[in-house]
């Protein structure tokens, strides 16, 4: 179970400079505790996706290091923890039916078929798609495809969920609904979530803590705890507290880009 005293992710002055000299991310130090819902918020080019991919081990930091439960990412599974990554696009196999797409991580791990099928059915129920297990991805709407992708992320029973702008390509109404569903899953499963977005409102609605980032070079400029109780419903979106947090984050983002513009002029 999620224990707030335990650090799930420890980013120890990790930086990313590409071989051609581009500074994607200045050194970042950040600790994410078990059960937290942390959002990385910033404009494009601020290195938020880069940071998330480094946490997942998809990219190596050029400096510093990142540990998950005190282990390098390769040894996390041996230590009894699992992470799942949900991409910006649904990244489903177009030739495979929904249930086969969700079963993919279990198939790759060599899970026996019967046990895997039961877990797939379970995961599809959690995202409300149990009636679509034999559909092909192209027969589903963008929002439903994203749900399949989340089901695929949940089917391995992760305790850390990394999400890279998962709902960025969806319309606002669909996105809001998926955001609420995600919060319900996060609470029910006691997950630790690191969520990347460029939407201030999505960040406020979802997070226990928002990490504000800025571009050129990518860096962390601010951290804001969203001290509002869960479950959060639609009325939270129109509350004064919500607006106050949104303004706080917006000011933070503006201040960071203003500093950038000054240096550009100087």
């Amino acid at each position: 179970m999620a224990d707030p005293a335990v650090a799930a992710v420890d980013i120890l002055s990790a930086a990313k400079t590409y071989p051609n000299g581009t500074r994607a991310l200045d050194p970042v130090s950040l600790t994410i505790r078990e059960g937290e819902f942390v959002t990385l918020l910033g404009p494009s080019g601020c290195g938020k996706s880069t940071l998330l991919k480094m946490v997942a081990g998809l990219l190596g930091p050029s400096d510093g290091r990142i540990v998950l439960w005190g282990q390098p990412v390769e040894q996390v599974e041996a230590a009894g923890h699992r992470l799942s990554f949900v991409f910006q696009e649904a990244t489903l196999m177009p030739w495979a039916r929904v249930r086969a797409n969700v079963r993919l991580p279990l198939d790759l791990a060599g899970e026996p078929r019967a046990a895997a099928d039961a877990r797939v059915a379970d995961a599809l129920r959690q995202v409300g798609l149990d009636k679509f297990s034999t559909s092909l991805p192209r027969e589903l709407s963008g929002g439903m495809q994203m749900r399949v992708s989340i089901a695929r992320g949940l089917v391995t029973r992760p305790d850390l969920l990394l999400m890279d702008e998962p709902f960025g390509a969806l319309d606002e109404i669909t996105r809001n609904r998926l955001d609420s569903d995600l919060l319900a899953l996060w609470q029910a499963k006691q997950l630790t979530v690191v969520f990347v977005t460029h939407s201030i409102y999505e960040a406020v609605y979802l997070s226990t803590r928002v990490v504000v980032m800025a571009a050129r070079p990518g860096r962390v400029v601010d951290q804001v705890a969203i001290d509002e109780p869960y479950p959060r419903d639609a009325s939270f979106r129109v509350s004064t507290a919500f607006s106050a947090y949104a303004k706080r984050l917006q000011d933070s983002l503006l201040r960071a880009s203003a500093v950038n513009d000054d240096t550009a002029l100087a």
Partner: protein, 273 residues
């Protein structure tokens, strides 16, 4: 996605599957009628241009000869097509193992493609005494390149997001190949097969032309040559019609195979309604 009215409610001629057969057939009937009419009206002798009816008569009268030749040509075509498919896929798999291998070998695949088969067919026929073997080799060379090029492209055309996902899930190289690269390559592979099936036939006919006068070939190209020497132009036309029909049939078969394999999911085969 769903048609607004059930198919049974649309008039027969407005259904796309009926239109696809009806209109080309209409054009064929009109052209054949025009041809027949012109030949009869202008009294053109059969050794210049035979009428469609005369061609049909020869087709029936020389059925044994012509269809025997067709079987020979078809055998060469199919053997070459199978060889080209198997070889092409193997070569494509070798290419995608490393960029270095592809860089080193690709120019030679192109070389194979750009060398005119008529120029090397006599050599192959001299080197390999067995007529079937030499003809199959020539036709394989002609049909090989599209399979190599398309399959290589397909094996590389993997959705980068899915590739990242496989990497993140610590999939082995073999798992990535079987579960990701091969399915992703299928639409390209079938595109290659469609081109190659026609090329295998062309290769078989061209090789027969080169070999034919040697007296070894009994395929359709040999019949065309013989009919030419004898000024039996209706039989020449009949052989030509058989070659054309075979090509169309092969193409249609490949299209069906492709539809069967990709029907459900790939954009190229999903119906637009």
């Amino acid at each position: 996605m769903m048609p607004l009215t059930p198919p049974s409610a649309t008039p027969r001629l407005q259904r796309p599957e009926v239109q696809r057969v009806f209109y080309p057939a209409l054009v064929a009937v009109l052209l054949l009628g025009l041809w027949q009419g012109l030949v009869v009206a202008l009294e053109i002798p059969p050794f210049l241009v035979p009428s469609p009816l005369q061609v049909a008569q020869v087709m029936v009268a020389d059925a044994g000869l012509l269809f025997g030749a067709l079987v020979t040509t078809l055998k060469i075509t199919l053997l070459a097509f199978v060889c080209a498919t198997v070889l092409g896929v193997l070569i494509a798999f070798t290419f995608v193992q490393s960029r270095l291998v592809e860089t080193a070998l690709f120019p030679y695949a192109v070389l194979l493609q750009v060398t005119p088969i008529v120029a090397i067919a006599p050599l192959i026929i001299i080197w390999f005494k067995d007529p079937t073997l030499s003809l199959v080799m020539c036709a394989t060379i002609v049909a090989l390149f599209p399979v190599i090029a398309n399959t290589t492209l397909g094996l590389r055309s993997v959705n980068p997001g899915l590739l990242s996902y496989f990497k993140l899930s610590r999939a082995t190289r073999l798992q990535t190949l079987l579960r990701l690269r091969i399915p992703s390559a299928l639409p390209y592979f079938f595109g290659g097969l469609r081109i190659s099936s026609g090329l295998a036939l062309i290769g078989a006919v061209v090789a027969e032309f080169v070999a034919g006068t040697g007296g070894t070939g009994t395929g359709l190209a040999y019949q065309i040559l013989q009919a030419g020497y004898q000024l039996n132009i209706p039989r020449m036309f009949a052989a030509l019609v058989l070659i054309t029909l075979t090509g169309v049939l092969l193409f249609a078969l490949m299209a069906m195979l492709s539809k069967w394999a990709l029907g459900g999911w790939h954009e190229s085969e999903v119906g637009h309604d």
